[in-house]
């Protein structure tokens, strides 16, 4: 599946969600938006946001590390309909 990457590293809330909302609007059907964040608070925020916004689904979340060992929080979003 085609992925579109949104680099939200170093961004404080609310910016990862503000930028994700814009990116979702430009997302094509069948594409997945991959949001890469460094804020651990984004994990629960994306879950909470997905529950209240019917326009997309949170299809996955995972933890990764960058080359320096810094924790990354990856959120995968897909548009509904």
């Amino acid at each position: 599946m085609e992925e579109k990457v949104l680099d939200a590293r170093g961004l404080k809330c609310p910016m990862p969600i503000v930028k994700s909302k814009k990116a979702l609007q430009e997302l094509l059907a069948g594409q997945v938006l991959k949001v890469i964040a460094t804020d651990p608070g984004s994990v629960l925020d994306f879950q909470g946001w997905a529950k209240t916004n019917p326009s997309f689904q949170l299809v996955g979340q995972r933890n990764e590390k960058d080359e320096t060992g810094r924790d990354l929080y990856v959120h995968l979003l897909a548009r509904n309909g």
Partner: protein
Amino acid sequence: MANSQSKTEITVQELYERLYRPTEPGQWFLLDVRNEDEAKGWRVEGPAAVPYFHLPYFAFIDDPEAALATVPPGLGEAVVVCAKGSSSEFVAELLRDAGRPAVNVTGGMIAWGDFHVPLQVPLNPAQQGRYELWQFNRFGKGCLSYAVIAGGEAIVVDPSRFPALYEDFVKSRGARIVEVLETHVHADHLSGGAQLARRNQARYRVLNAHGAEPVLGMEIAPLDGDVEIRLGGAKGVTLSARALRTPGHTPGSTSYLVDDHYLLSGDTLFVQGVGRPDLGGHAEEWSRELFHSLKHVVAGLGDEVQVLPAHFGSYEEADRQGLVRGRLGTLRSNSPEFAITDPEEFVRTMKAGVKEAPAIYGEIIKANLGLVDPGEKAGEWELGKNECAATAAKRRAAQGRA
């Protein structure tokens, strides 16, 4: 003052002061914009009767107009709070742009959880002037730490991970820190004890009577048996603090009896209830030890002893000044745990109250033993209120009264 100049931010200190000030309806309210899971577990609370309203910040991104319409009018100024203070800043600005008064709590819940207020414990007339006793109330987390100051020397008990706070305070009282004591190896918050002792060349005492030895790169002074800690002798003022072994919450739990009158009880005894004995996975064994500590060690102390614990569960346990303390005699007659005379029943009651502990507690214990370093995650690890009190007997007593 013109509207354009009114403030847009308040500090956690100002928030605390507001919560201890009489409040008229319609003056201000709390607007919590964190996600639901975070807001459910822990929030700003205090004696002021202010309305609390919760709406996550992403609702204000999805549909700002609808979100603003959901926030009830007529409640006065919105004091907006989130986890770290940046989403709430965004929401407060939206509110102000819509013509509604709003301020942001700078630093959010992390700053709220890190805020400490020093409050002086009033001494009995016989003790006044000989020494000072201060309680540092970490209000958001419900953690209490202490400084005892006599003759230019100070003991700090259960310091949080902000050593400068204690150093500056003790210095402002014209004293230096000579002893740093822990009542036990804490699970809910990161200790600053070893660091504070090292920075001030003070003696450090902590007892881990179960599991790994602390690896703190420093000498740890003994706590086994009855240790007497003397203070202020150089200036002709002497004060003694006696270490009493009170295992139960942890096998190494120690209470400090200052001047035979003030019991720094750690997590053994709270103003309401006792410490939970299940944080080490040995609820039965540790419950038995707690029963023994309450029935044999604490029982030997007089009713007039003032209990100064390491935690509180609700601001309702504090007096009107915000001090958390209790007369031992009153605690003994009010706590359901003291009413139980049979050790087996005590163990059963404690075990029935076993609840899941926050997952991070295991890591915090390791960090406090010097086995792991939380690094920049310290703030995240410490989010939330302490969960160190036992609940079973309290719940049972409440049902009994109902």
